[in-house]
């Protein structure tokens, strides 16, 4: 990319109005009839085109079992875009996109379908000038990964030749433990070189998550206190208010820890705790993230420092909800966790002795993801005990979703003749103080794939290190006890509260 741009006299680093436009390329989506594709991928492609970030001639190929003609596919994309796109619908943008839209019908083991895919790609190279550059988005259940990847290899679709590129985009889960993750990586890397594999963790595409780095490393205000001398503990929460919905088949046996902690929460932990990278390029970032993930230490007594739970029947936000064990397709004896809370420590000079509490769950109070860095109390207070009775700990809360922003909590005097200090919060919200509305995570990530920019994608080492952290916990859970029950619509099992109470702390109510 840089070589081409260097030679282009119209490109200039100082010219900041010109957006980063992907080079000639196309996107192939496997499993294009799926939910993710309809709700996120297709709208993201349209939004990118609408913002003028896709190259002229950009092509989109859908691959699925359904018997569609190109027009049916276009119609489906049209509906998806109309319903879910972030930016307003514009006819001329649609006209630009529709010229490069194709559909290939077939099963993943169908050789003729892959031959047809190959000829479609060649046809698009001629008709749309995509230059042989294609990204393959595997929006399919993980059990099909090996098959699809092998088919791509077999039909020569993964070959990078004459300066063109072929990239693979895969979604979580990246295996269900270290062994299976390694197997999966072997399968994918046998066909695509490591730098051509993009693992999507859509959290990393979120503005707020990228802002963690800006907040920490572009300011002088926070970094000096971002260590064990001032920080008491860190809480990273991702809560959902929904149950498993129709995903029983996928979810049972996987559970909350594998589904969320292994990827999203450990990535958030890495970004929150890592040292300053030498630069903002992909290698430097990955190096720091790997370092901090490698320094994560599990507590000795896993029984006391981890909690898992299952939601029981109850009321969630005014609607009656069934318990996990009563959901359709779930074994009533299932030991799958729908709530998981774990305590981790990071064994380095900056964080020694500072616990990181990670929790995630379904059917909790409300949908929220946040990182709370909670500070120690002032070592000495000149005020009476009664004056500071209502004063909590200072905290910096990074709200990842919804209502993206940052909150700083500190004590302030209550107006009046008495000295009374109470917590107040100072708030920065993206929605109200920003110069550009935030793009969807998938927009950013798809654009980065097309540009070949791997900053925001976890690498193999990170995935494997995350499994190394989680595997012992899962093994412990397999052999010890069973999940605690918590009422739907609450903030998780009492065991989780007790876990923090033992350390003299408590969970924030997000």
């Amino acid at each position: 990319m840089s070589a081409v741009h260097g030679a282009n006299p119209l490109r200039d680093a100082a010219d900041r109005r010109l957006p980063r436009i992907a080079g000639p390329s196309g996107l192939v989506i496997f499993g294009v009839t799926g939910d993710l594709s309809r709700k996120k991928l297709m709208p993201a492609v349209y939004d990118l085109a609408n913002r003028g970030l896709l190259p002229p001639g950009f092509s989109l190929i859908g691959f699925a079992r359904r018997e569609w003609a190109d027009e049916d596919f276009a119609e489906e994309v049209y509906e998806a875009v109309k319903q879910h796109a972030r930016t307003p619908f514009r006819e001329e943008v649609w006209q630009q996109l529709i010229q490069g839209m194709r559909f290939v019908q077939g099963d993943f083991d169908d050789d003729t379908a892959f031959e047809q895919l190959k000829s479609t790609i060649e046809e698009l190279d001629k008709a749309q000038g995509t230059g042989g550059n294609f990204a393959f988005y595997l929006s399919v259940p993980p059990k099909f990964f090996p098959l699809v990847v092998q088919q791509l290899k077999k039909h020569g679709l993964a070959d990078q030749k004459d300066g063109s590129w072929r990239r693979a985009v895969i979604e979580k889960p990246f295996g269900h433990d270290l062994v299976s993750a390694k197997e999966l990586n072997e399968v994918v890397h046998e066909v695509f070189p490591p730098e051509a594999v993009f693992r999507i963790d859509h959290y990393l595409g979120k503005e707020t998550v990228q802002n963690i780095l800006a907040l920490r490393f572009a300011n002088t205000l926070f970094e000096p206190i971002w260590n064990r001398s001032y920080v008491d503990h860190v809480q990273i929460t991702m809560a959902e208010d929904i149950g498993i919905g129709g995903r029983a088949g996928y979810y049972d046996g996987i559970g909350a820890a594998r589904d969320v902690i292994q990827n999203h929460l450990l990535q958030l932990l890495a970004l929150t705790a890592m040292e300053e990278p030498a630069s903002f390029d992909a290698d430097a970032l990955a190096a720091e993230k790997t370092k901090v993930l490698g320094a994560v230490k599990l507590p000795k007594d896993l029984g006391k420092s981890t909690v898992r739970g299952q939601y029981a029947a109850g009321w969630q936000g005014g609607a009656k909800a069934v318990g996990y064990l009563q959901e359709d397709g779930i074994d009533p004896q299932s030991k799958t966790d729908t709530y998981a809370a774990i305590k981790l420590e990071i064994d380095n000079r900056r964080w020694a002795g500072v616990p990181f509490y990670l929790r995630t769950g379904k059917r909790l109070g409300r949908r929220v993801t946040e990182i709370a860095v909670v500070f120690q109390r002032a070592p000495h207070s000149p005020f009476d005990h009664t004056a500071t009775e209502e004063l909590g700990r200072n905290a910096i809360v990074i709200r990842v979703q919804p209502d993206e922003g940052v909150t700083v909590r500190f004590g302030s005097k209550v107006p009046g003749t008495q000295m009374e200090i109470r917590d107040v919060s100072m708030d920065f919200a993206y929605g109200e103080s920003f110069t550009e509305s935030s793009p969807e995570a998938y927009e950013r990530l798809i654009l980065d794939v097309l540009l070949g920019d791997s900053n925001l994608f976890p690498r193999v080492e990170e995935v494997e290190l995350s499994w190394k952290i989680l595997d012992p916990i899962e093994q412990f859970w397999d052999t010890h006890g069973k999940p605690a029950q918590y009422q739907s619509g609450t903030w998780g099992p009492v065991e989780a509260d007790e876990m923090l109470a033992r350390d003299g702390r408590s969970w924030r109510r997000p």
Partner: protein
Amino acid sequence: MKTDLTDTTSSKINKALVLGRRAIGTPAVGMVLTLVIVTDEENAYDALKAANEASREHPSRTLVVIKRVSRSPRDRAQARLDAEVRLGADASTGETVVLRLYGEVVDHAQSVVLPLLLPDAPVVVWWPVNAPSDPANDPLGALAQRRVTDTYAAEQPIQELTARADAYTPGDTDLSWTRITPWRSMLAAALDQVVCEVTSAEVEGEEFNPSVELLAMWLADRLKVPVRRSKSAGPGLTSVRMETDAGPIVLDRPDGSLATLSIEGQPDRAVALKRRETAELIAEELRRLDPDDTYATALRFGVERLDEEAATVAPETVVDTVVETVVEPAAETAGEAAPAAPAAKPASKKAPARKAAAK
């Protein structure tokens, strides 16, 4: 909500803003900048509408400064300030104050505006029409980090451009420049796709459209080649043609909405290139508040130099009302002859042009 204040002062307006905010229940403000619109009564409505739309992306305090014309000596001697404070639903996401200046205070608008600026936030001044010849030294312009003019709205756009170049101060910018961002980004993307040496270029657009000149100057500056301009019926810019050693690259937009990108040896492609509304232009302008060096370089290239350099290639094409049929074949020949002659040397650049002229 709306509060009307007649014969008022800035401090009373500030008080009305605080009271108004408290009344609608949003005492905290998260506004990122103050946008000052300097205009006459005639253009105020459209400008404010555009600014309000843009404020969805950039919550701001918008101050509309309307200088009223005094029609009698008595009016001129009397100074008066009327204000209309709009908050909440009446002002999109920010706050709006419409200031009407009568009489002598017209010459001291900065004294009204200064107390109303948001603390610590950047200030942008926008003149939709009748921009001062030296924006940075204008009393209102001096308050701002960024000064937005629009030469497209001027009586004599090309002269206006030259004046802008002479008075340029970092932070100046022009909506005619903003309008061509999509063109520039598409042309840059086109050159990403082919490795080639551009030998000459042509920009075609409607008459009295300074965007044509700005785009031509930008291309001439970046590519270091002669760039010709030609006229069309519009709307706006209609076409850019770059002759390269790998064949011509043409971006053609006859209808102001959907363009076609043609690159030699590659299929033609449709490209969305819609003419944008003022609100979108303002939103883009507010996105970055640092000086636009690329604009400065392009602006300072100068229209005269553009004409001179274009003249060295094909003198007759600069003359207006050129018959299209004559120009086109000439350009074709120049393009085809180009690969034989390396582009860097001016001498060799002349050769195909002479051949063309001889036809």
